[in-house]
Amino acid sequence: MANPYSNRPDSSFWKRAVAGVALEHFDPVLDVPFTLLPSDKIATAGSCFAQHIARTLVSEGFSYLVTEPGASEHNYGVFPARFGNIYSTLQLLQLFQRAYGLYQPQDHIWRLGDGYIDPFRPLVETYCSEEALLEDRAVHLSAVRKMFEECDVFIFTLGLTETWMAVADEAVVPLAPGVSNTSSGCEYKFSNRTVPDMIGDMEQFVAALSVVNPNARIILTVSPVPLIATFEPRHVLVSTVYSKSALRVVAEHIKNSADNVTYFPSYEIINGNHIGNKYFENDLREVRPEGVKHVMSLFKKYYLSSNEKETRSRPDTEEKVHLGTVENSVIFREMIEAQKIICDEENIDAQN
């Protein structure tokens, strides 16, 4: 038998594709199953890293779908609708189910001092009354429906396997009540989602989305951001590796099982061995703007068809990725933007 690897492309070989490639030329994408037009409406959801993607899509001139517009100081525009970070697959599925009246969690209003907050997006707003919260939630869920129905592409960044859910009905919240200093009359439990759990969640979500929007395409990514803390009785790095590995398996499985789903390797671009920790801030957790830029430059390279790219080229988008050039005005602006990223998880560490 001849060496079956002898005709494989350079990208199949570590030395040629990873170890021997300059950082700025590292490209693990190879090909994508479809391209986007400037007019294609893109929606994003997911963990903190998804916010980076959202911001870059806007600044790069993609048609970023916002169905719940409002003032940025009230956290509008971070995502298409004001749902905040969606860390887990079950949280995404339940967002869809709540939006379409299929699911009504029992514990749906929390207290924060004299105010009221929405447990499913606790950092988005503090309301003065239950009525105000419910009224805004109706508007919000309407915007969520509009997003699901109108998007051409839905980018979901899988973030965490560790979740907190209500004991009564397994309603998933992004933060346990105690973390956000809120009070709830109900009990919550920790759940570390397994691969079969998450595959089930995602299969349900993909099927449900196709019911309301048969033409929607889905791009899955895995957040490269490590866990800020683990509730498992083990080292946080061990939990991080489990979490990211499991999410990556889920993404691969869903990509292979659904025609309209693909995977974009932003995790690999940021976390690959080629880069060391250069795409992370000093906390080894927060992704640096250069890393985001690298991810998004490849996203743009592959997902915009060549004709469209010509019509969209802007001087700043032609810049190569350079490390350590924070004095560069574009990157500096992006860093300012990055500081605005809202991360519910930060609350976990803030109290410790």
Binding site: Q97, Y100, G101, L102, Y103, Q104, R145, E149, D169, A208, V211, V212
Partner: protein, 289 residues
């Protein structure tokens, strides 16, 4: 001055109104199947005797002609058919409820929402049910894809008696309810019916006031193709001489559900309801958490 008689269901009022405008010098009278059923044999005989004076008789298709065949055979050469315009795709959850041979009257007369009845039978709270009026529910239940099938059926029915359906379908949302066509649709039917009978219609005639406009009207739900809103219209009271409601009011979906639930509380369904309701109940069992 042609004398024209029309027999059929509630469409006849609209057809008569259109023909009166399209042929201004005609004398048009109409009679509904319901009137036949309510009338005595003597009264019906009197009607048929008078029908002998008609130059043209339009009867609806399909119509229980076999019941009246003997009577119509006499006027055979003067009889022309016109199509019944029913179309469910604009109002896909609309259904009749019949208990022991009688229509159950709901929030909008005889028209009920299968989704609302299913919600009631499944014990879904009304404030939750209203949230199910959305694209996911409608798509899951096949409401979104009904236009092609409904169009094919109506086109076939029209074609069967030599009518062209296309002018009707091109008039936008041409139904008030699943079986109450708007006057714009009946005007197209009237023009074609007159052509078949050899009567020349006046060109550029105005479309008359719609006799069914003051009756019950259902919205095309906002989350359906051609969607409008979720506001129903209800006729209140009945003008005995013209058989049209005296007043009309709007019903929001929340009110429609509340009134429907109130009515259903007092109905003993005994598991007798249309198949469409069973399907909606299954949807709720399978999807509501």
């Amino acid at each position: 001055m042609p004398r024209i008689s029309i027999l059929g269901n509630c469409h006849v009022r609209s057809l008569a109104a259109c023909i009166s405008v399209l042929v201004p010098k005609s004398a048009v009278d109409f009679r509904t199947l319901g009137e036949f059923e309510k009338s005595t044999q003597e009264e019906n005989k009197y009607y048929f005797d008078n029908l002998a004076n008609a130059d043209v008789i339009f009867i609806q298709h399909p119509f229980p002609l076999n019941v009246l065949k003997q009577e119509f055979d006499v006027f055979d050469h003067r009889v022309h058919r016109f199509p019944m315009v029913t179309y469910t795709a604009f109002h896909p959850d609309s259904t009749y409820l019949i208990r022991r041979g009688k229509f159950i009257q709901g929030a909008t007369g005889p028209y009920h929402s299968a989704l609302v009845l299913a919600g009631f039978l499944e014990g879904v709270q009304s404030d939750r049910l209203i949230k199910l009026f959305n694209r996911f529910t409608f798509s899951s239940l096949g409401y979104v894809d009904q236009h092609q099938v409904a169009t094919d059926i109506l086109r076939r029915d029209f074609h069967e008696i030599g009518y062209d359906y296309e002018p009707v379908s091109s008039s936008g949302i041409f139904m008030h309810t699943m079986d109450h066509p708007k006057i714009v649709a009946m005007n197209e039917v009237a023009k074609q019916a007159l052509t078949k009978s050899g009567i020349v219609a006046q060109k550029n005639a105005k479309i008359p006031v719609d006799p069914l406009d003051r009756d019950w009207k259902w919205p095309v739900y906002a989350d359906l193709p051609f969607g409008q809103n979720y506001i129903f219209h209800v006729g209140i009271g009945m003008n005995s001489s013209h058989q049209v409601p005296i007043e009309r009011r709007e019903l929001l979906l929340s009110e429609f559900i509340r009134i429907s639930y109130d009515i259903y509380k007092d109905v003993n369904f005994e598991n007798e309801f249309p198949g469409i309701v069973m399907r909606e109940m299954n949807f709720m069992r399978n999807n509501l958490k």
